[in-house]
């Protein structure tokens, strides 16, 4: 109830308002809505980046590396010394996680609001009709699900005239490519081998996971993934945080030691 009233219903109704203002084009509404949510969560993104940067700078410092070496076999002592270092430098190690935790329900809400607004079946439409605010007329639903060649409520396939029996999952391919690029370009290099390994796993795991979701679920969601990835890359690029060189094959993800 709390989730619906305070997260989902406002999001669904904002999405429908945008859809109405954009002349009933749900594809563009998804892109604009994703951009609006990204803009609203920008302060959190900045905070997360600042915190990550501070942490990385600290991990590159001689003092931090000395602590790691000196107390290699004494985890408790190593932790205590690291904490002292945090306090001296005024770093809160949880500061990077907090914005991510706050963004988590927003991202889930965004995803659910798109799914619910699509309402491609009677039960979904009936449920959606009961969540409309008074400023969204009931005549707005069900939404016009057509966008370019896609039915946004169904898994997307493009059938070409010369290949009428084979559906090409164009959006799925775009989701895989943009997720890979977004993870590769916006994940900061890790200072150690273990972190680097995890980054590599994420870079491979996320594109296939989201690609599979895009392949099996509605095209509206896939469009959201693509929009979200592209906007994230643009946002990081504007902030000067994109490392384009990381796309060059063979380049190590582990950062250079100072």
């Amino acid at each position: 109830m709390f989730w619906d009233t305070f997260i989902l219903d406002p999001m669904i109704n904002t999405l429908l308002r945008i859809y109405d203002l954009l002349g009933n084009n749900f594809g563009i509404a998804i892109v604009v809505f994703t951009a609006v949510i990204r803009a609203l969560t920008l302060p959190l993104t900045f905070q997360q980046q600042r915190s990550t940067q501070k942490m990385q700078d600290m991990q590159k410092s001689k003092r931090w590396q000395d602590i790691q070496k000196k107390y290699k076999g004494e985890k408790q002592k190593q932790q205590e010394e690291t904490m002292k270092l945090y306090q001296e430098l005024g770093i809160n190690p949880l500061a990077g996680c907090l914005p991510m935790l706050i963004q988590f329900p927003i991202i889930i809400g965004l995803y659910q609001s798109i799914t619910r607004a699509l309402a491609s079946t009677p039960v979904e439409l009936l449920d959606l009709s009961r969540h409309l605010y008074s400023w969204n007329p009931p005549s707005l639903i069900p939404l016009n699900n057509q966008f370019l060649w896609m039915n946004l409520a169904q898994p997307e396939r493009l059938f070409l005239p010369f290949l009428p029996t084979v559906g090409i999952p164009v959006l799925t391919i775009l989701v895989v490519i943009t997720t890979y690029l977004q993870t590769k370009l916006t994940t900061p290099p890790s200072p150690d081998a273990q972190g680097s390994q995890m980054t590599k796993m994420m870079t491979l795991y996320m594109p296939f996971l989201l690609g599979w979701i895009a392949y099996t679920l509605s095209a509206g969601l896939a469009l959201y993934f693509v929009a979200s990835n592209v906007l994230a890359i643009v946002q990081y690029a504007v902030m000067g945080k994109v490392d384009w060189r990381s796309l060059i094959p063979g380049r190590a993800v582990v950062s250079q030691k100072p």
Partner: protein, 366 residues
């Protein structure tokens, strides 16, 4: 305690994985949820109900399953459309697998199949002489020969068709999500007239005293004279209207999702009575011998005197949970009221129309 950098990375990794898993789980856990309510029809002996993986035939006297189609569940095939009896021993039902099946009513065996549709079949078919008209979610109406499923003609609307057309003489009235009600000539599938009613049309219109009665999402009931674009009268409602009216003895009845049941004169829309209760009324009510039967989304069944809505019986609080959500149109067969459930502990319940006692319930077993 402040976690170490290694631990922090692990936390981040776990959060990332949880985020991804959350997305997957939101849409993909366990059995797929029902995306529509059961489609229920009946003849003098059997009830036929289409829901999720099967179409079931159930003995009306005992509630015993007589057959199911298909015999083995197939995740790619789900059924929600109200089946239609052809009167020639066939039961025709469409599926979310884009196919139309004609089944032998005695055995449940497949007699013919039409696989030319390109989208889901959500709404029930309608019988028009020797044709079966099948509405499809891509906006196409298929006219099939009832005997063998041969395609005779098609009609294309601008948006999805989610409900059966209304047949009157040589005309099919086709409601569409594109806000239009189309009058389609049965001989060749050509549109003769259409009217924009301002919002999606999701239920079959009612034809009462020569007028089409159509409920809309814009919270009103409209009466239309076929061929004219302006409503004869408009009845404002408190909630959006999904199910269209049933009529008997010069009075028509329908409910809205605000939970109000309306009784009115179909000739001018004037009110006879209103009865308000808190739960959404979605389907068309049933009428029998001066009694009005209606169901709510909260799992209640009401039997009322149609003249003045005086209570006859209604389901108890304990029965509500077992009945789940009641969104399908109830059917009266003889002295039994058949009610189909979703999200309850059974699929069908047979109530004694006079007393409200439960005669039997039917819950399919795997």
């Amino acid at each position: 305690m402040i976690p170490s950098p290694e631990r922090r990375r692990r936390i981040r990794w776990t959060l990332g994985a949880a985020w991804a898993a959350g997305i997957v789980l939101t849409g993909c856990t366990g059995a797929p949820p029902a995306t529509s309510w059961p489609g229920l029809t009946a003849d003098s002996d059997r009830a036929y109900v289409a829901f999720q993986s099967h179409v079931y035939a159930v003995d009306e006297q005992t509630g015993r399953e007589l057959w199911r189609f298909p015999s083995e569940a197939d995740p790619a095939r789900t059924y929600y459309a109200t089946p239609v009896l052809t009167g020639t021993g066939l039961l025709v039902v469409g599926g979310y697998d884009h196919k139309v099946y004609a089944l032998d009513v005695e055995r449940g065996t497949e007699e013919w199949r039409f696989d030319g549709a390109a989208d889901r079949i959500i709404g029930g078919a309608a019988l028009a002489g020797d044709l079966v008209l099948v509405p499809v979610a891509d906006g196409k109406l298929y006219a099939l020969r009832a005997t063998d499923g041969e395609l005779v003609w098609t009609f294309q609307a601008d948006a999805g068709l989610w409900t059966a057309p209304l047949i009157d003489g040589e005309t099919a009235y086709v409601p569409s999500l594109d806000h239009h009600l189309y009058a389609v000539r049965l001989s060749d599938g050509r549109s003769m007239w259409d009217v924009n009613l301002g919002s999606a049309l999701v239920d079959t219109p009612s034809l009462i005293d020569g007028r089409l009665l159509v409920g809309t999402f814009e919270q009103r009931m409209l009466a239309l004279q076929p061929g004219e674009s302006q409503p004869v009268w408009t009845l404002p409602t408190q909630g959006l209207v999904w199910g269209n009216p049933a009529a008997a003895d010069g009075v028509a009845y329908f409910g809205d999702i605000a939970g109000v049941m309306y009784a009115f004169h179909p000739e001018d829309g004037s009110e006879v009575w209103q009865y308000a209760q808190p739960n959404a009324i979605v389907p068309t009510p049933a009428l029998d011998q001066g009694r009005l039967f209606f169901v709510t989304q909260a799992g209640e069944v009401f039997a009322r005197n149609a003249v003045d809505h005086a209570p006859i019986w209604q389901t108890s609080e304990e029965q509500k949970a077992g009945l789940g959500r009641l969104l399908s149109e109830p059917r009266v067969q003889g002295d039994v009221l058949l009610v189909a459930s979703m999200e309850g502990d059974r699929l069908l319940t047979a109530f004694d129309t006079a007393s409200g006692d439960v005669r039997w319930t039917f819950a399919p077993t795997d």
